[in-house]
Amino acid sequence: MAILSSLKLTTTSGFLQLNTKKPRYPVHHLPSPSQTALNFPIKKLLDELNPRDTLTLTRASNISISQTFTKLKSQGKVAFIPYITAGDPDLSTTIQALKVLDSCGSDVIELGIPYSDPSLDGPVIRASASRSLAGGTKFNNIISMLEDVVSQLSCPITLFSYYNPIIKHGIENFMSTISQAGVRGLVVPDVPFENTQRLRNEATKNNVELVLLTTPTTTTCRMKDIVRASEGFVYLVSAVGVTGARPRVNEQVPSLLREIKEATNKAVAVGFGLSKPEHVKQVAEWGADGAIVGSAIVKVLGEARSPLQGLRDLDTFAKSFKAALL
């Protein structure tokens, strides 16, 4: 109990710090002008949530993505992996959203770096990226935000970034920067497997695991190369297409999962299109080690009437997915 109250104190002081310090990231996008007005209800919200077992709390940056999966596997559990875009509706809300998702029991959180020309994203995540960029989100701000918040999370963060921003920052610089911010995984959807060696080398030097994607159109031979090289987990893109909710999960997923599991012992997480708790339950039954939910969550958070409402809805929504995996 003492530990629990000290946890609350830490959380509280985190909010107080936010109130007194000048924010390091743009907050002008917030509809409600007062920081306090936002933070007090959030504090209450987080207080209302079921507190996590504090004894098993670890700093999010201390546990790797693959270790997370290993642990879950030993417990017979399937990972819940939500995706949100950094800076949608603004970075302050992203901080709170990360905490909400963490406290809901997310096992890994995927955080998207908004990009001007996302070739693999459907309308929801594209709009989310546009909102974030229009609000002035910059890479350095996202890093500052992560440096603040990662220590308060128990689940590891994986970044999702298109390749061009990585090249612009310089691969070595990018990897060391994200690593210092506590990021443990990275997904880069538009680098072909053949060109991932340099990314992987730099990622490994910095304790970041480079997750690779395989899709329904990937040939078996190529899939084997991909899964052999993938770190953290194997990202199985469930559908031929861009991100976005779909009414049903692609029926090929079971056979794709089987094929992959014949080729590797690594964890396999399924993403794209999963928008309902039933979907997530289904892929777990089919043998997936993790379920990634993106657009559905982004929509709930980013298209809400207010950031506060978005966070409340996010909490409920994320919990429904977690419940389906229990």
Binding site: S130, P192, T217, T218, V240
Partner: protein, 512 residues
């Protein structure tokens, strides 16, 4: 090696046209083909992954949704085709076709010992296939089909027939007498300006060369749905045109801003039966239309062929589109020989994505005595921040599947370019241009909106030819180039399109 020995037999008994082409090719390419063939064969490797065999998709043990509908049964196939025996397409036997085959083999060529491109689709460090994994298989299939069809005599015959009878090739190399006069110095010296009249093609621009070939390719691949992006609308019109000609479903993505400034072309596309989808995302111009087309392709890759309109995008597109436009340069060489018994000294072309420029340049890249000049859009000026001068002001990154120069901010976000001409309003450029620039083989300059408008008027007045605003950028550069050229220098400028589509933009800016 088999091909090399076959190429020794040059007696052809096909039509007179084939004979002429084969003889000319042999004469002009004998040295080139030997050198570049040995280079390209040395540089080529088998398919890009560790998987050496291209899997037989038709008998895959687990059913993939993406079952190949290729008419060809591909078993083991290297990405650099060497007439594998297992291909069931028609293999040409006679030497005219051998001439064509030799040409396609050697056509890639090399520069400074680097192939253009290598088997990964790279030109030096540029190019490549930076696309989502979902598209990788389609790109491999496309490349395989492209190489196979380069050897397919029926395909080549059909394509050449359409280029002649439907597109109206070959286009004239026209001596611009009054323009030449305009650039004569007081002592009567000055260069001789020739215009390669790609504006006389059906649909009014060079774009149709590529559209026709890719539509035929799509048909061979069994794809019934075609998508394309368009900036000025010329590529959109060309695509809609060929889809009408071949009975294919056609969807064109166009930036909402471009739809406004090229309304005539939007109407034409719809009249031709295409669906034009406005793209409002991002800057609502060509780059966003391209991103949207890529997203459509990711979603519909099994049924759809993406007719990319320029030498940009992921491999094999830069190579394919260049190859489909190389007829421009090839004709120019022949016509130059006919007209003045030599080669051009300087080639000038406007550069947006770079297709008309590559089409003209490719033939001459290995002729070191031919100067290659590309002209980009400087918009409101290079220091205004409102331009599209990618090669001058950009830096290296990945856009739309290729590593190339591009215009981006400090975070790697692609920025909105500006040019009065929609076709040059692209923040990227084809990777081969980036390669040529770095090697110093080609020079790139830029021209402002105002300078382009002046040139638009000038050519209209001096030659009675209304050029496209894109082409006007190349024409405007002549003002700076011609005073520096020795007497009698032969300049060939690619008149890439006609300007009918630009009159209502011009009306806003010009007093006539």
């Amino acid at each position: 090696m088999v091909l090399q020995s076959k190429s020794q037999d040059l007696i052809t008994c096909r039509t007179l046209v084939h004979f002429y082409v084969a003889v000319l090719q042999k004469f002009l390419h004998s040295i080139h083909s030997f050198l570049s063939l040995s280079n390209s064969m040395a540089a080529s490797t088998s398919s890009t992954t560790a998987c050496k065999t291209h899997p037989n998709l038709i008998t895959a043990p687990l059913s993939k949704p993406y079952s190949s509908r290729l008419p060809f049964k591909f078993r083991k196939f290297n990405s650099r085709a060497t007439a594998p025996s297992s291909i069931s397409c028609t293999l040409a036997r006679d030497s005219a076709a051998a001439g064509l085959r030799m040409d396609s083999q050697s056509a890639n060529g090399s520069l400074a010992g680097l192939p253009r491109p290598d088997s990964f689709g790279r030109y030096g460090k540029y190019g490549g296939k930076y696309v989502p994994e979902t598209l990788m298989h389609a790109l491999t299939e496309l490349e395989t089909a492209f190489h196979a069809l380069a050897h397919d005599e029926d395909f080549q015959t059909e394509l050449n027939g359409i280029l002649k009878d439907y597109v109206g090739r070959e286009t004239p190399l026209y001596f611009a007498e009054r323009l030449t006069e305009h650039y004569k110095r007081p002592n009567g010296e000055g260069p001789h300006i020739y215009l390669k009249r790609e504006d006389l093609n059906h649909t009014g621009a060079h774009k149709i060369n590529n559209a026709v070939a890719q539509a035929l390719l799509a048909k061979k691949l069994g794809k019934k749905r075609i998508i394309a992006e368009t900036g000025a609308g010329q590529h959109g019109v060309a695509t809609a045109t060929v889809c009408a000609r071949f009975g294919l479903q056609c969807i064109i993505y166009m930036g909402a801003q471009d739809m406004e400034r090229q309304a005539l072309n939007v109407f034409r596309m719809r009249l031709l039966g295409a669906e034009v989808r406005g793209v409002h995302a991002g800057t609502a111009t060509l780059k966003d239309a391209t991103s949207e087309a890529i997203r459509d392709w990711v979603t519909n890759v099994e049924t759809t062929h993406y007719i990319l309109g320029s030498v940009a995008g992921p491999h094999p597109y830069p190579m394919m589109v260049r190859d489909f436009h190389k007829v421009i340069g090839r004709e120019t060489r022949k016509q130059a020989l006919e007209k003045w018994g030599g080669k051009p000294d300087v080639l000038v072309a406007c550069v947006g994505g770079g297709s008309n420029a590559m089409g003209l340049f490719h033939e001459f890249v290995e002729d070191k005595d031919v100067r290659l000049i590309g002209v980009e859009a400087a918009g409101f000026g290079l220091d205004s921040g409102k331009h599209a001068a990618t090669l001058t002001k950009g830096d290296v990154g990945v856009l739309h599947g290729a590593m190339s120069y591009l215009l981006q901010d400090e975070d790697g976000q692609i920025i909105e370019p500006h040019s009065i001409s929609a076709g040059l309003d692209y923040p990227g450029v084809g990777p081969e241009h980036s390669f040529l620039k770095d090697l110093g083989r080609a020079e790139y300059y830029s021209i402002t909106d105002d300078e382009a408008l002046e040139a638009f008027k000038r050519l209209s007045r001096l030659e009675g030819i209304i050029p496209a605003l894109e082409t006007s950028h190349a024409l405007a550069y002549l003002e700076k180039l011609c005073p520096t050229l020795p007497d009698g220098t032969k300049v060939v400028l690619n008149c890439s399109g006609r300007g009918d589509k630009d009159v209502h933009t011009a009306i806003k800016h010009l007093k006539v």
